[in-house]
Symmetry: C2
Subunit: 372 residues, 2 copies
Amino acid sequence: MPMSSSKIKLAATLQRSHWGFLTRINPTQWSRQMSVVAKSLKYTQHGEPQEVLQLVEDKLPDPKDNQVLVKILAAPINPADINTIQGKYPVKPKFPAVGGNECVAEIICVGDKVKGLEPGQHVIPLASGLGTWTTHAVYKEDQLLIVSKKVGLAEAATSTVNPTTAYRMLKDFVQLCPGDTVIQNGANSAVGQAVHQLCRAWGINSVGIVRDRPEIAELKQMLQCLGATEVLTETEIRTSDIFKSGKLKKPRLAFNCVGGKSATEVSRHLDNGGVLVTYGGMSREPVTVATGPLIFKDIAFRGFWMTRWSKENYSSPERSKMFKEIFELMEQGKFVAPNHEMVPLANFKDAAAAALNFKGFTGKKYILDMSI
Amino acid sequence: MPMSSSKIKLAATLQRSHWGFLTRINPTQWSRQMSVVAKSLKYTQHGEPQEVLQLVEDKLPDPKDNQVLVKILAAPINPADINTIQGKYPVKPKFPAVGGNECVAEIICVGDKVKGLEPGQHVIPLASGLGTWTTHAVYKEDQLLIVSKKVGLAEAATSTVNPTTAYRMLKDFVQLCPGDTVIQNGANSAVGQAVHQLCRAWGINSVGIVRDRPEIAELKQMLQCLGATEVLTETEIRTSDIFKSGKLKKPRLAFNCVGGKSATEVSRHLDNGGVLVTYGGMSREPVTVATGPLIFKDIAFRGFWMTRWSKENYSSPERSKMFKEIFELMEQGKFVAPNHEMVPLANFKDAAAAALNFKGFTGKKYILDMSI
């Protein structure tokens, strides 16, 4: 990026932050003379988010060495964030902790050992557990990934959890070819929406199962617009002949975020050698696995947790390739953020309450908007 | 084998068969001039074995081309054989069908295109569904595998189903190293006994779970003699600290032939990334899979069916290697047949009834003895 452009962006950033005077140290790095105050949603004990989260102001230290000061633009409220605050998630924060696990941010200034980032760029956190429900933060260079500004804020802010989960589940369990079929329940979940969009991009048929509901026609239309080949209710799938009739190939891959009877029904449609991947359990009922399909149909029941994959593949080429593909689709408008609502940070209690009121995944994601 | 030795073995065979005059056609092949009558346990419809099995006499055709005439020496009654006759197994026979699926046999004579087999040798069937509950049979050369006579009849007769299942389950799901641990329920099943013996041979710790029962001390002793590192009842495993105390490594591989709560309990002890392989479901209850272990511990629930593996690997080097290893252990006395009772063919109804009276796997196998 030419320096003039960088300066303009930096200036634009300054107008909406607490910045004062800046000194250029070398052609690509900047240091600040005045401190910034971050407003963060913090908690010092586990509990219900509305009760334990406090909006706290902290003066941030100057970014040193390989540190990067960012202004957070948008950060979603994911179910796992709620569970983490409640103490119900396997990842335990150190108190005091800042809520949230993903975001998109703009770089304000960088430490003098930062090589690959510069002010004005949009970045997302590659590391987990950084705490993103805040107006500003100091991260390290290797915790951040540059995102093109052509990628929308909602898309970038929600890119590291749900689209990557969908991507890995489609890539890592069964070798799929164009024309193959994938089936999933909770098809209107954020991951479900991502699955439909990736399948469309890759020429894979995706069958989505959703609960029966009054507004089923609109939901079906929304998911079909995202690329779902077929959307069926839990009642409809029980009597559907889409696979028997040969209209679609029997699926060798199924995704489950519900559990209970819904998981059993989805697994029933798998072809020999098929895999059911569980990534959620919104019904709170376990997956019931009959002996016959396990043995005679060689059906495998697996699980997937993006947090583990990201830790195990932190700097892998496969991870870079994944983000490149996802962001390209987002830039091309072929992959949009899940159905969502932007909420000002000041309204975080309403957003947390709404997130808690999810009855299962409703497909609506609340995103804290710090860009205003 | 020198011809003189072959002739002696042939003569020995003749004494206890229906054979008369034999003509040598070329240095390694023989043809017979008189026919043999086979007594076979046949059925022409599905039903309970005692009711539908009939002892039928058939004059066998001369072995032609690549055919091999054998005298069956011993053939076990496996649970899958009973289920096949009942019509409850995925493999459907053509009627009239001969019961049984494995055996050890002695070659009587061979067709003129047979290259690798000669009279007097012991063989086992490599193909499934040949029908082995018979005194004599005509098979094809490529359906048979030579077994050293140093391998006991009970061991050879029961080598293709249970030991191979144990072998593959130990090899194909998790890469085990000496010092690793395997856990299994139904540890006294025929496969369970094979698992303990293979683990002992390979330096792997095996923990066996069995149902509580009055004669538990004897059962524990028997399984420990086969190589079990620990044998615990279903009650004992719930409070055992063998893994927490560090006495044994947490298992990454578990075998389940029971289902229901027993399967859940066994899976609970798996280390992160562990696999529970189901190969039977004697409780007739499904496997219940909680969402947490699937996602956060990356526990996989798989199934194994030896019949499929054998079909997919019929002539594979891996299959030859497996039989070589199993027979070497048998020859060395390091692998014995499961706890069994030899039953004369004439008493097949009693044996079938006893096999049906299994309450789960009792670990006792009935083997039809056609060698007398």
